[in-house]
Symmetry: C2
Subunit: 333 residues, 2 copies
DNA sequence: ACAAATCATTGAAACGTTTCGCAAAAAAGG
DNA sequence: CCTTTTTTGCGAAACGTTTCAATGATTTGT
């Protein structure tokens, strides 16, 4: 039915070995025969069987990306940017949406990929270290891991928290609130910690910073903020939310209770999802540069495949100033 | 280094054939020996080589998804929902972001997938028909194609346009505007056509419907609408935009020129991206039900793999009523 | 013109599986 | 206790490649 390399060889009147060489090691076969082989392949519509090829060659020229899901802006950007790098280097990108950690372990060992990038919620330092023992080159996103064949790329979440603290303090904010993400989540914890540390350096003790739960969700943050306001608690000068979605939830609650952003209170997010640009007021936030992360991760895994040693890397962020934060005259220096 | 089935067989004191059977055809091997094999496999951390397996078994239990890119809400939802169905049926989902149509053709023939869903801009009916000649089961999204091993799933874009026309007419709108998408794009053309047809059935001739270019982009629609208003053209009763993004652009331009939505003018979108719920006013739009499409597509490709015949399917839409359209008293029946 | 060196091609083995047909062993029937 | 049937396990072939070592053909050097 479907043409194999044998058929091509027969059609071109050469041995299988020569046919293979004509296609994969063009330089060692006489131009004339090579052309004959290629022509035969074309005529027969030959497409090499990927499984035979990978089995024998002991490499798949595929790199994997393991994620929990693809819904959400980050994932698409990550995948697209990784794909671009991989393609340019002659690799396929194989995106695996995976529900349990064991299937990651399994797939890493079944020889279907030469290396992988792992961005998976429940992969912590311990799990990562264990996975890294396989000889498959691995890049972990948001995990502190570094080994012979494994690298980690950390989002500077603590640093992001600090940036927010500095920025808001610089605008004259003194009574701060933080909308927390998810307990145990690395980025969550780091953002909070960095924010509190940054404020402490400006002389604001962490006990004075009000913490609300947000769970990274718009709705949850909205409800928590509404409850907070309805209970008659004091309005802070500014809010730093653990992500844009919860910042947007806060703004909705604030507006609903008659407060204006940024006139009465400033709100700052984190992530810079595309939505943030379009809401009113446009959200001031910290951009985590998704595409750049993908590019970096792909390049890193290719580097590991080349045999270079693993390392720990950082992914920088930057403040994107829009309309949701405004200087506070009374206190600003 | 890495354990193969031979090692497992030796460790368990059985032949390779038995080892294989113990794992894949448990019923034909004595419980006692089966347990021994499984135990040996566990001890050696055995993971079957996917390439050997697929080569011999002549199936990969993998289904492919070919797309132009993963950025954009639709793709994530599509991938996640497909993944869920595939997983439940014991298949892997292999997402391929692909830059040229020939690599689709290639991948379809290299035996790395048992079937595929194709949602790729430049795959038109002609290209689809050609691809369908391969014996790989194929489901095309937004392409009119049906064959022995191939199905098409059409978005009811014309129907969506009609729904918008009916809805807006029912609210009392008589002077309508349509913000067009991209010329040549199937959904674009169909939405416009359906919208105009629908209005005609209500006695509004298509010449009276003002058409603006929107290119599916927020910024482009914004500029076109601004220009339109600044030139002193009459304000329509309602706008139906080809997608939510351009609807949002229109609203921004309208607000900027001092018009209120929906008090002065109604605006309706199409797609129901998540953003639409959060802007003010929350956008009335037509939901195209991304997840459902993915589920349907995955089920269909599995159906084709089972050997059933291809067919043509429709993907329904529904109006999501929010705040951006309001009844118009003067004319409403 | 002959040996040496280079070039082009090839047969066969190997990659890790599954599966077919057969043999051995066990169970059942008389 | 012998035959028949059923159960269990095995050897070997096959899937489609790549690649190694070897062979034969051609060119080079003297």
């Amino acid at each position: 039915m479907k043409a194999t390399i044998k058929d091509v060889a027969r059609e071109a009147g050469v041995s299988v070995a020569t046919a293979s060489n004509a296609m994969n090691n063009p330089e060692i076969v006489k131009p004339q025969t090579r052309e004959a082989v290629l022509e035969a392949a074309r005529r027969l519509n030959y497409v090499p069987n990927a499984n035979g090829k990978r089995l024998r060659a002991r490499e798949s020229r595929t790199i994997g990306l393991f994620v929990n899901a693809m819904t959400g802006e980050f994932y698409g950007a990550l995948a697209d940017s990784m794909n671009q790098v991989c393609r340019a280097q002659g690799y396929e990108l194989d995106i695996c949406i995976v529900a349990d950690i064991d299937s990651i372990r399994f797939r890493l060992q079944d020889h279907s990929m030469d290396g992988a990038v792992i961005f998976w919620d429940a992969v912590n330092e311990e799990a990562a270290a264990q996975m890294a023992e396989s000889d498959c080159p691995l890049v972990f996103l948001a995990v502190n891991q570094q080994g012979a064949h494994s690298s980690g790329i950390l989002f500077q979440s603590r640093e992001h928290g600090r940036m927010a603290a500095d920025y808001l303090y610089g605008l004259g904010m003194r009574r701060l609130m933080h909308v927390f993400g998810i307990a145990g989540n690395y980025d969550s914890e780091m953002r909070r910690q960095g924010f509190l540390e940054g404020l402490e350096e400006h002389g604001i003790p962490r006990e004075e910073v009000r913490i609300l739960e947000g769970r990274f969700e718009r709705g949850y943050a909205y409800r928590e903020m509404r409850k907070y306001l309805q209970e008659g608690n004091p309005l802070p000068d500014a809010v730093f939310a653990a992500n844009d979605l919860s910042a947007i939830g806060c703004i909705a609650a604030l507006n609903e209770q008659g407060y204006r952003v940024p006139e009465d209170i400033s709100v700052m997010g984190c992530d810079d999802i595309s939505l943030s640009e379009y809401i009113t007021p446009a959200l001031t936030t910290i951009r985590t540069q998704f595409e750049q992360t993908g590019t970096q991760a792909a390049q890193e895994v290719l580097r590991l495949i080349r045999g270079e040693a693993g390392r720990l890397m950082q992914q920088e962020g930057m403040i994107v100033v829009r309309k949701s934060c405004r200087i506070r005259k009374e206190t600003a220096g």
